[in-house]
């Protein structure tokens, strides 16, 4: 292994682990750095739209945010990327969000149950893949290989959407897998694969793509049984209601679909 490879892996790890933080930092600078005439900054209610989105949407939404700002001069898009459950809690606790894009219907339901949003629309689907480290040291080909006790497997914890999906897929395949760890989110799970600490993990296709080739993804038929729907909704108490609806429209538009598809999402 050359030093170059090593340092690249380092970067990949950092990118994965700090992905959420980086997303948060991006929203801190308003995503509109260097643009002239930031009138929106002065009157945030009129010129800022705040989007709470699942961490897996970081790449695609950041790009869409730029497009939205370009199409609406003076408007700033602020993102809060994180775990869907955490975001849902922040919203029900009164966080000033305009748009919520969740990684699971269940987390969106927390918000709609509190009458803070209505009629969410499923805009993408995410499918699980088996992620294996470069070189696939344990020679994993299909889902049932994960049941081999010699294969170290990382799964997401059942409490988070990717964990629920993994449990569903494994149940559909009738497999009993004992993981070495139940990670707190999909990025953490992926980190374990990137570093080669585990031989395989069940993560989303989009995450495998975002890892930049450090891990390989293997499709498996049972993933069909555990497709994750991503719902989006403009929030009922959105401070920038009009902008919120326009942002949701952009996500649902052909432009939005192209960007999301490129990130590895399936379109409904």
């Amino acid at each position: 292994m050359t030093p170059f490879r090593k340092s690249r892996r380092w970067l990949a790890v950092l990118a994965v682990t700090t992905g959420v933080m980086a997303g948060a930092a991006a929203c801190g600078t308003g995503g509109g750095s260097g643009r002239p005439g930031q009138a929106g900054q002065a009157t945030p209610a009129a010129g800022t739209v705040t989007v709470f989105a699942a961490a897996s949407l970081t790449g695609a939404f950041t790009e869409l945010g730029k497009a939205f700002e370009a199409a609406n001069p003076g408007v700033t898009v602020r993102f809060n990327f994180g775990s869907s459950a955490t975001l849902a809690q922040q919203i029900t606790q009164g966080a000033p969000a305009d748009v919520f894009a969740a990684a699971s219907p269940a987390t969106m339901k927390t918000v709609t149950d509190a009458s803070l949003a209505s009629a969410p629309i499923t805009f993408v689907r995410n499918k699980l893949q088996i992620a294996v480290p470069a070189g696939n040291p344990a020679k994993v080909d299909e889902l049932k290989d994960l049941a081999d006790p010699k294969v170290k497997v990382a799964l997401c914890a059942a409490q988070v959407p990717c964990g629920a999906a993994a449990a569903k897929a494994l149940a559909a395949a009738g497999l009993k897998v004992t993981p070495v760890t139940l990670e707190q989110d999909v990025k953490a799970t992926l980190t374990k694969v990137v570093l080669g600490e585990v031989d395989a993990a069940l993560v989303y296709r989009t995450d495998v793509l975002a890892s930049g080739g450090e891990v390989s993804g293997i499709d498996f038929p049972e993933a069909r049984q555990a497709v994750n729907d991503y719902p989006i909704a403009a929030l009922a108490k959105a401070p920038a209601g009009d902008l919120a609806r326009r942002f949701v429209d952009l996500v649902l538009s052909q432009r939005g679909r192209d960007v999301l598809a490129e990130a590895g999402f399936e379109l409904p």
Binding site: W10, V13, L14, T17, T18, S83, A85, T86, Q89, K152, A154, A157, Q159, V160, P179, V180, T181, L182, E183, Q184, A188, T191, K192, L195, G196, E197
Partner: protein, 274 residues
């Protein structure tokens, strides 16, 4: 006892005059700042379902694991950290200031990054981990020992800094006196230095234990999360937060109550007498 304390309090008041409000007001604000979040937890706690939730085996398992690993990590920190503090305080060597700064790295490093760094060194493909596995068949990630390693990594600076401070404050002439009586440097360390800085070591160990007990980021990154093996209370709290915020509150309160009880009893036994 109370009467004595009161009399002493009265004497101190008499000698120093009234307590100045410029200190009392920020002090009260500071206390409120630290205590109010706890009050928030207490208010929101689901008292009616508390007994049922506490009886869940997963909770007790996580609690036991937390106490065991935090204590083991504190032990590791004592064994490695006290000598390190001694070297920093008593041996002058080129680059000592740099080493002193390096000791604080785990304080500054986000714990998650610390966990990744540990993986890069001690992981299955890590610099040392690779060799550990090849030579002894030992892998640390995803094991209880891994939890101890992660907690010790994050908590050690608290011990080293407080013990080094105690060593610097201790009068080095006691060590000279011991030398004139024929004590070797090791005997001096064991029989004079250690007892003299014992209060500093206890304080450092308490800080270290508390930090280890609350450790989350480095632990979940390095050791992963598996009930009974690596899932400590903070990890259980974090995951409970995803779906059941009330359960998370209960777990937090349990962790809090147990640690406060342990620290208070230790204080009475070792620190209170001084």
């Amino acid at each position: 006892m109370t009467a004595t304390a009161e009399r002493r309090g009265a004497r101190e008041q008499g000698r120093l005059g009234r307590t100045p409000w410029v200190l009392v007001v920020p002090a009260a604000c500071g206390l409120a700042f630290l205590v109010l979040p706890l009050a928030g937890l207490l208010v929101r706690a689901p008292w009616s379902t508390l007994p049922r939730r506490l009886a869940e085996p997963q909770v007790l398992e996580a609690l036991r694991l937390s106490l065991v690993t935090a204590s083991a990590a504190t032990l590791v920190c004592l064994v490695l950290g006290v000598p390190l503090a001694w070297v920093l305080a008593r041996v002058s060597f080129p680059g000592r200031r740099l080493v002193r700064a390096l000791v604080t790295i785990p304080l500054v490093l986000p714990p998650v990054v610390g966990g990744v760094a540990l993986l890069l060194v001690l992981g299955r493909r890590g610099l040392i981990g690779q060799w550990l596995e090849a030579a002894f068949g030992v892998t640390l990630p995803f094991t209880t020992a891994g939890v101890v390693v992660a907690e010790a990594f994050v908590a050690m600076p608290f011990l080293v800094i407080s013990v080094e401070g105690a060593l610097r404050a201790a009068d080095p002439r006691y060590e000279e006196a011991a030398a004139t009586l024929g004590a070797s440097r090791w005997t001096i360390f064991r029989r004079v230095t250690l007892p003299l800085v014992a209060p500093g070591i206890v304080a450092g160990a308490v800080l270290c234990w508390a930090r280890a007990l609350g450790e989350f980021g480095a632990t979940i990154t390095f050791a992963g999360n598996f009930p009974g093996r690596t899932q400590t209370m903070p990890l259980a709290v974090y995951l409970a937060l995803e779906t059941e915020p009330e359960a998370a509150i209960v777990l937090s309160l349990v962790l809090l109550a147990v640690s406060v009880a342990i620290l208070a009893s230790l204080r009475d036994r070792w620190v209170g007498g001084a």
